[in-house]
Symmetry: C2
Subunit: 177 residues, 2 copies
Amino acid sequence: MTSSPPALDATQLSAYFALIEASSLLKHAVEQQLQEAGRLSYVQFQLLATLGDSPGGSRRMTDLADGVVYSRSGLTYQAQTLETRGLVTRTPSTDDERSITVTITEDGRSVLAGVFPGHVAVLGDLLFAPLSRADIETLADILGRARDHMRRTPPRSAQQRRHKKPSGTDQAPGRRG
Amino acid sequence: MTSSPPALDATQLSAYFALIEASSLLKHAVEQQLQEAGRLSYVQFQLLATLGDSPGGSRRMTDLADGVVYSRSGLTYQAQTLETRGLVTRTPSTDDERSITVTITEDGRSVLAGVFPGHVAVLGDLLFAPLSRADIETLADILGRARDHMRRTPPRSAQQRRHKKPSGTDQAPGRRG
DNA sequence: CCTATGTGCTTCGGATTCGAAGCAACTGGT
DNA sequence: ACCAGTTGCTTCGAATCCGAAGCACATAGG
């Protein structure tokens, strides 16, 4: 761990920076449009869009969290916000009493519909404009593979919930430096 | 703006989702590693890395903000945090009294060096592992073009500071919440 | 010199985010 | 039925982030 700094080569560095910067810029632009068109944050839009695509417009909280790269608590917060605005409803599931089913409302679909054209326009202007069809296909392929790989790969320490103390597997958390 | 919903085709949708998801997953993983290895947020790392690459390890606040996709106030916040930790110094510029020059310290370079190997490792494991050399080159090319285009394109409403009211560009009172 | 305007950065208030801890419901073994 | 372990979601505290407003310096025109 102290020997050879593997130092990315120029191409890898370019790809990495381009990925981060492009996604950041795109996300910022999209967020601005969503805010103006429907007072939605990006996550709220993702949630509504996911629900709109789901059968019956419903999903369990956990399934929603799986789709979006998001923490559970953050999802709870946004679901509450959307419920307050009347864009979704939250009802306890009949099967599992602890499970909550989130459903998009008519108002939610309206907001979604009102926001969508502008959303597509931003994507066209910013992301797709400078790219050819072949570029877009290639991009979808490469990034799709990368994403699938990342989803399969545990993020460096098991997400498992520990109810018993690890007692030996301690991981020197945040040492003061 | 209300006529034909241009509805992205399947390929565009795939590319878009793959981009957002891949970058989110990667960013999360990287953030976790940075936090464990050096108690740095992603932005803090970006700032230190940018400074480390700069001549003399120094940059003006504005130039830093240009490099990172970030708000001015957020940059101020993080610069203060880094200064408190002794990883950077902030000194008024001699030329322009209002300009602040941020400089990375030795401690800052140490933290950067301590964090870097793990950072590279995460990138290798998560992003580059499932990709060929050609993939990486292609990715850098395509996303590089997209990024450059986005940087050139104003984000849908001029970033210009208006000291006089635009009077025509009136905006719905986007109160958040 | 003085006023008007532009630029660089910070402060302020509020929104969003996360992880840890907690509560309630389910599951399997006895 | 009971207990321990697991799972689904929420609450809590703290950190991070942004935009609007503000302060201080800089520059141009009279």
